[in-house]
Point group: C2
Chain length 227, copies 2
DNA sequence: TCAAAAGTGTTAATAGTACACCCATGA
DNA sequence: TCATGGGTGTACTATTAACACTTTTGA
């Protein structure tokens, strides 16, 4: 049906995925970055990435690459943008699809991360990155902020059960601005898909704070603009 | 520096671009689609696409492909999403980056469009498309709507000078809902970057309607969420 | 008893929505 | 003179933003 020549007169390129892995700890967003002890660009900082293999979708490649580093398989992930400048990788031509992932920072596999010479770096302290990885981070952060403003993706950065103070600190970190506690809690109260578990966290205060969880069944996308 | 083996053990794929080309006429959004008189999938409907060539960025490939069909070089274009399922093209593996373009439908080159056996099709009447092109159209429409809700990209579908009635009809077509004339004009009046030219359009009414233009200098992105 | 975090309502400002008539013109 | 599309303002509703004190409890 499709004549071989239709395809074969055109070039082929390596296709890679690069992953912007967000975590949240101590009131700060952080990124999981590699201090590369391998070529190319040994000694420099980069995102975790990898090549798309035969028979593997780009989405699957991104999940594989993130699991390889963190040991985590069911993360919230989203495609951000594709970077296709011919000289973006000085070695060979590589078209790269960027994805972001949200990780509960308590859960990643420390041995794997150490084995990859990877480190959690607070967002304001992110060092210069190789190639166009710095741009990827900017784009991913902007896109993640947007998504967090229209749907509760941020919750993927917290444990299953969380206090409202934790949730507010998270949103303040995501949007880089402090919020009014009463208005914030009023807004959360109007979201029936964020529900009290009945349990209480006593680690942060004598009094204890109610624990909440996200109920995905009660959550149905209402936004017109699903992106 | 980068050992050749680092790259060469990984597969290469064809990379293509597919373009969702929006136009606006008679109060309706329309798409420029190919009725394919070439393989593969001869006889079926598809988006205009093409392979990314050596030394060419994906963005440049998208512009080239759209110019090839329409003769237009300075269109508003935006990357939408990348489609990387291994079997999305039944012929060979092709990773495709989708872009949308906005065209003033009065300006395209009719000879080129005819030569490609392409047609403007009103959105509600878009036929089934090959491969995953139907999904691409849905995603592009959703994304274009989102962008139109946060910045005045829609204006690229109109001539340089337009009446407020034209502008309202356009927005009604984009969002698929009718709008109140007074509220609409109030909103436009608050946008200082949409300015009266002083000229009058007499083609649609005896009285004549004031013509407006978009002033890009007065327009500065104020949105936090630049996507 | 006190330090430290959790929890709780009201008011003002702003933005958004609903709604109907007069105007200018050429045929 | 009349048919046609162009143009205009006000009142109501909903949403968002500002703001400070009381509660609980273990040390």
């Amino acid at each position: 049906m499709a004549p071989k020549a239709y395809y074969s007169i055109h070039p082929k390129f390596h296709v890679s995925v690069d992953c912007i892995i967000f975590g949240f700890e101590d009131g700060e967003l952080s990124l999981l970055l590699l201090k590369r002890n391998f070529e190319p660009a040994r000694g420099q900082w980069s995102l975790m990435g990898g090549f798309v293999e035969e028979g593997e979708s780009t989405d699957a490649a991104a999940r594989r690459v993130v699991a390889e580093l963190t040991g985590l398989n069911d993360l919230y992930m989203s495609q951000v943008h594709t970077y296709g400048a011919p000289d973006r990788d000085p070695g060979e031509r590589v078209v790269s699809v960027a994805y972001y992932a949200l990780v509960d920072i308590k859960k990643y596999n420390r041995e794997l991360v150490d084995a990859h010479n990877a480190f959690w770096v607070n967002l304001p302290e992110v060092p210069p990155l190789i190639f166009d990885h710095g741009t990827m981070v900017e784009d991913a952060l902007r896109f993640m902020r947007y998504q967090a403003s229209v749907k509760p993706v941020g919750i993927n950065l917290l444990p299953e059960e969380f206090t409202l103070t934790q949730l507010q600190t998270l949103y303040e970190a995501i949007f880089g601005q402090s919020m009014d506690k009463r208005n914030f809690r009023k807004r959360i109260a109007s979201m029936d898909y964020i529900e009290k578990t009945g349990r209480v966290d006593k680690t942060m205060s004598r009094r204890g704070a109610a624990l909440y969880r996200f109920n995905p069944d009660k959550y149905h996308e209402q936004s017109i603009f699903k992106i």
